[in-house]
Symmetry: C2
Subunit: 404 residues, 2 copies
Amino acid sequence: MLSVDEALKIVLAHATPLPPVRVALGDALGCVLAEEVASDVDSPPHDKAMVDGYAVVAADLASGRATLRLLEVITAGEVPRLIVEPGTTTRIMTGAPIPAGADAVVMVERSSIAPDGRIALDEARTVAGQNIFRRGRSLVRGQVVLRPGARLRSIEVGALAEVGRGEVQVVRRPSVAVLATGNELVAPSAMPDPGQIRNSNGPMLVAAVREAGATPVDLGIARDDVDDLARLIEAGLAHDVLLLSGGVSAGVLDLVPAVLKSLAVDEVFHKVNLKPGKPLWFGHKVAGTLPTLVFGLPGNPVGSLVCFELFVRPVIAKLSGRCDIAALRVSATLTKPVAQRGDRPTYFPAAYCETNAYRRVEPLPWQGSADLATLVQANSLLVLPPGDKTYAEGEPVEVHLLGN
Amino acid sequence: MLSVDEALKIVLAHATPLPPVRVALGDALGCVLAEEVASDVDSPPHDKAMVDGYAVVAADLASGRATLRLLEVITAGEVPRLIVEPGTTTRIMTGAPIPAGADAVVMVERSSIAPDGRIALDEARTVAGQNIFRRGRSLVRGQVVLRPGARLRSIEVGALAEVGRGEVQVVRRPSVAVLATGNELVAPSAMPDPGQIRNSNGPMLVAAVREAGATPVDLGIARDDVDDLARLIEAGLAHDVLLLSGGVSAGVLDLVPAVLKSLAVDEVFHKVNLKPGKPLWFGHKVAGTLPTLVFGLPGNPVGSLVCFELFVRPVIAKLSGRCDIAALRVSATLTKPVAQRGDRPTYFPAAYCETNAYRRVEPLPWQGSADLATLVQANSLLVLPPGDKTYAEGEPVEVHLLGN
């Protein structure tokens, strides 16, 4: 049986970053840039005032004081028309272009209006260049601001706006369809009859896809019926990834593998050596312009979540063009003993805690692979290698942080 | 002038968690739960099979082998009708209810069909309870699964689905309006004329609001005109928070404070002792059912981002009912010397790096408060206290991590 590392390697080998698309800047947050972006302007575009005040010839204030004739008042968006010559000044505000002739700005707090209506300035520290921010000091026209591969945060959105990008080329956000399968499933709002359970995997996986930065498409529940499965799986194959929940173990009505085959989805592997999550199925459909990667996730909630974290989240990151594909794994010390039994590496729901000096992890009381009630207390999975062993309090163990 | 800590304390004192609303489970991701949620079912709802296989009377396999008559085949969603008595078996799949009479399940891999059509089982380890998961072991009806205050991740969405919550009561997601002000501003897609600059703060703040988990409402650009400002600010006051960018320093056309006053928005403070970001304005409108908090952010991009991080992000967290309101601050050692000048604490864009043992921070070459081109390389702000001092390589400094 494949190990987790071998299976992940195979899965990632089937995924390549999606082609670039042009999107409105407002839709680019969280996406990965797919073009080099250079500035089309100098920033600032002109020598500009760093304070509200009076543009002057610095030499006029050699004594620390001057009374000057007001030429004009420049407000935001206006440009100075008159040349500041010795004995004159122009009122400008923060960010305004420095008028020709001026070589310093005196803060408005240092000004008053003289009895004759002229402007009295009192600023001993006035030197040429004072309170002026030079054209192109932040950014020169043609300077590269962002390179392909940058993940766009709010800061990058601001920088793209500054250099004129109302639209931007990004790696397309993966579209991920989610389909729960099984006659026993009912919607969360329904009360299950005997033999039925609620579809918790569907809503959980839709939310996990959104958390991972992809666009989820909820296909609902497919019944254990070849026609229903084929219709919904075909709809799912229109997306970059199709997540199936349930229907891939060895039950009598586990029809999914046969239906996938009939729709030209090739099996790549079935079963991985881990607990929970062993029945994982992975395949792909190559036909059409872009392949669809298909995961058959275990029907039990914890196995489904573990497989999502270990295999689907990294695939979404790679398809999205991100460089942070590997999950965050750290070493921590156990705060409680934990017993490992059996020949499969085991992922226990755990509470990880980091202080300034220590990394500690507490295994949570876990009732098995259906136990979402324990998982709600977890922020991590404690990873124990195969082999019967009781790990003692204080032993170092590996921890997989959830949602990273 | 208020210190950053004093200002933050005042800002947070004006914010209380928003009232609860009922939302569809699919819209609850990232929200904070506003009710206690108990399970309305036992989970599992019946003793269930943990493997695909045959339900048996364990005593039949005392010798390790048995050949049994097949009673019926139970598929997903079906319930067993017949009682398993000694000498008989029922085929069930993973998750199916255990038929009455049976007390163990033998894996299908341990079965074959005997020449007479009966089912031959070969499993030496069969004991009562084998491969059976007891009713209510994960969750008992009435058991509390989630408490108010829980932030809903994909796992919690799955748990809510399991206990029947197609809708759930959550703290309302804050609605945050963003309005850039200034005659000098043009849209990102336009080429600025002399004296004009592009509106980079608007798109940046809209994206930052979304990153912080609130719903942004982009009000575009208001001109330095009382009527235009009043119309757009009034629209902004319909939301929980209004972010104004620009228009709060001492420029000739800085009309914003007067317009806010005319719309019954009370000033709480103006100016905070920090760099960049000193001109921050904060006020609130109490009239109506819910107050609106109003921030006048500096017009320069870095000052605007710093004020968002220090004051707006915590307010959004508090309004959202979250408990992680405080920003993540760590101590790190400088990788390069950095000079601090002046009487204001300074927030330098910086690159923070954490290895298993060390926390290091590199100050980035920073051209002043308009410099988004440097900020795109930053993941943190290096915080230096007031006072002229050159900090040496290796000195410990405080670091504010961005986006936490």
